[in-house]
Amino acid sequence: MKSIKSIFKKIFKNVFKKKKHVKLGLYGPPNGGKTTLANQICQDWLGENMGKASSMAHETREIHIKEEIHMKRDGKELTFNLVDTPGIATKIDYEDFMKKGMKKEEAKKRAKEATKGIIDSIKWLDDMDCVIVVLDATEDPYSQVNITILGNLEARDIPVLIVANKIDLKKANIKKLEAAFPQYNIAGISAKYGKYMDEFYDAVFDLV
């Protein structure tokens, strides 16, 4: 039954593909590199950045949308709206921001904004046409946040590409990610240094 539904959805999607604006979401836990990847994509195709990326968790606390990104590769064309979302987490402690040098009131404000950002990210799941789940390849992939995000996308029949980011780092282990999520297509990149972006864009064309 599920496969029949999925076939109909694909047919419907192909028929209307050219008429609608595809919403391509960047999802994942905090600090995976979603905004760095969004900036890399925007630099490559628009020549401008999308948002501020930093090493501090929850730098992105609002949904950011870059409309009408037009990609051209090997005779194929693709136009989409890129949606950069706040990282999804199960806990927020303002004291963690204070450890990074923030004053108490500023840290509390940031924590409040971060909780709202997570709620927005979850609410926006229903609006996505395709999602790139950006994971830090140096981290343990078996986190419940990763499993919950992927499970929710699967339950909504939203096509998913997993990005194993930060593969320029020694600790990166793409094999571990592939073992954890064998049913998904995984693209290894370094968004920071723009490494393996061609392979990534090929995977995006396959996804959308």
Binding site: D93, I122, Y142, S143, T148
Partner: protein, 129 residues
């Protein structure tokens, strides 16, 4: 100060709707107890649990740590997978196991397909929080 584990058998939540099920789990966790639940939440319920947790974050309640052992991913052989598919079809959400702890007590839950490791914060830090 010790740690309290609160076991929830499937029979205790099977008749509850999603919203009440999530609320029940969160109410227990907010009492600084670690929930051990037989079975697992639906994927949408997991997202709801994170969403409601975020709404309730305060100076005292910092959030949760969550982990699920899912029977679907523990079998590796074809025979094992077939057997698990049958068991999952029979038991539904009852298969698997879920652990939810308050973030002011549970520092981290490490999981891989076969096991869950739960690291707690030391008592001094807990008291300070």
């Amino acid at each position: 100060m010790g740690i309290t584990l609160h076991f929830i058998p499937h029979s205790e939540i099977v008749d509850l709707g999603s919203a009440r099920r999530v609320k029940k789990l969160l109410d227990i966790v907010k009492q600084d107890k670690i929930v051990l639940m037989e079975g697992k939440l639906k994927k949408q319920e997991e997202a709801d649990l994170i969403e409601i947790t975020m709404e309730e974050i305060s100076q005292k309640f910092k959030g949760i740590e969550l982990a699920t052992i899912d029977d679907k991913v523990t079998a590796t052989s074809i025979g094992g997978k077939l057997k698990q598919s049958f068991v999952n079809a029979m038991l539904g959400d009852r298969s698997g196991f879920t652990v939810i702890g308050p973030a002011n007590i549970v520092k981290e839950i490490k999981q891989n397909p076969g096991k869950i490791e739960l690291m707690t914060l030391d008592q001094k830090r807990r008291r300070r929080k």
